[in-house]
Structure formats: structure tokens, C-alpha cells
């Protein structure tokens, strides 16, 4: 099994407005 490592939260930055609207419509958490 993959090794455990302390979890990391990485901020990628802002989202282009067009992508934002599209993604919000398409994204059932954890499907």
C-alpha cells in the first residue's frame, strides 16, 4: 500500500471565470 505521509494542502491560485462556471455546474462530491 502507498506510504502514509502528512497531508498537504496546496493552493494553485485563481480560476478563469469561464472554467469556474463550468466546473461548478459539473461537480456530486466524491463520485
Amino acid at each position: 500500500r502507498e506510504d502514509y505521509a502528512a497531508p498537504q494542502l496546496v493552493e494553485l491560485g485563481a480560476v478563469p471565470a469561464v472554467t469556474l462556471g463550468r466546473y461548478a455546474e459539473d461537480s456530486d462530491q466524491g463520485r
Binding site: R1, A6, V10, L12, R31
Partner: protein, 99 residues
């Protein structure tokens, strides 16, 4: 911050896989975040209704590592997520009675 009853904020959209998670905060212009696999798994268990420590224990069982280690790690992660508004603290599950 109390580390109990944390849940994903309504303005966060998550895609969680075995390889990690992508979180999209749709407030303002929107911001992307990446969670590495252990954190993504913890997030997933939170969405199933587990408490933060219960979720950490399930992550520990999955990886076969001590629960105390994972609980400490996830408390740190929980603070980071809450500081950015990605997780919210549920102070009470009872609804206030109004006449």
C-alpha cells in the same frame, strides 16, 4: 478552534479520487486547492458524516499507521482548511426553536 464537527463549506466543490483531491472555492473569482491522498481520504470521510477524529482513525487504519499521528496531522490540516473557509465548524446540530 474546536476540532469537532467540521464539514465542507457549501461554497466548496470537491473532486476526490484515490490519487488526491481538488477543491474549488467558488467565492469571488474562485480558487483551486490540491489535497494529497491522505488528506483527500480524510475529507471524503468527513463528507460521509464522520467526526474529524473518526475520519482520522479510518485514514490511520487504511494506511496501517498509528492513529495519534494521523489525528495530529489532520488537526493541522483541519485548521488550514478552516482558516481558508473550506471547512466550517458546526457548533450545534439542533435547530433553534422560534415561536
Amino acid at each position: 478552534m474546536a476540532h469537532r464537527d467540521l464539514s465542507p463549506s457549501r461554497h466548496v466543490h470537491a473532486t476526490i479520487t484515490e490519487r488526491g483531491g481538488m477543491l474549488l472555492d467558488v467565492r469571488g473569482r474562485g480558487r483551486w486547492y490540491v489535497l494529497t491522498p491522505p488528506g483527500a481520504r480524510w475529507w471524503h470521510y468527513l463528507t460521509e458524516g464522520a467526526s474529524p477524529d473518526e475520519a482520522a482513525d479510518r485514514v490511520a487504519a487504511y494506511y496501517g499507521v498509528p492513529a495519534d499521528t494521523v489525528r495530529d496531522d489532520m488537526r493541522r490540516l483541519g485548521r488550514q482548511l478552516a482558516d481558508r473557509g473550506l471547512l466550517k465548524t458546526n457548533t450545534s446540530r439542533r435547530k433553534r426553536w422560534r415561536p
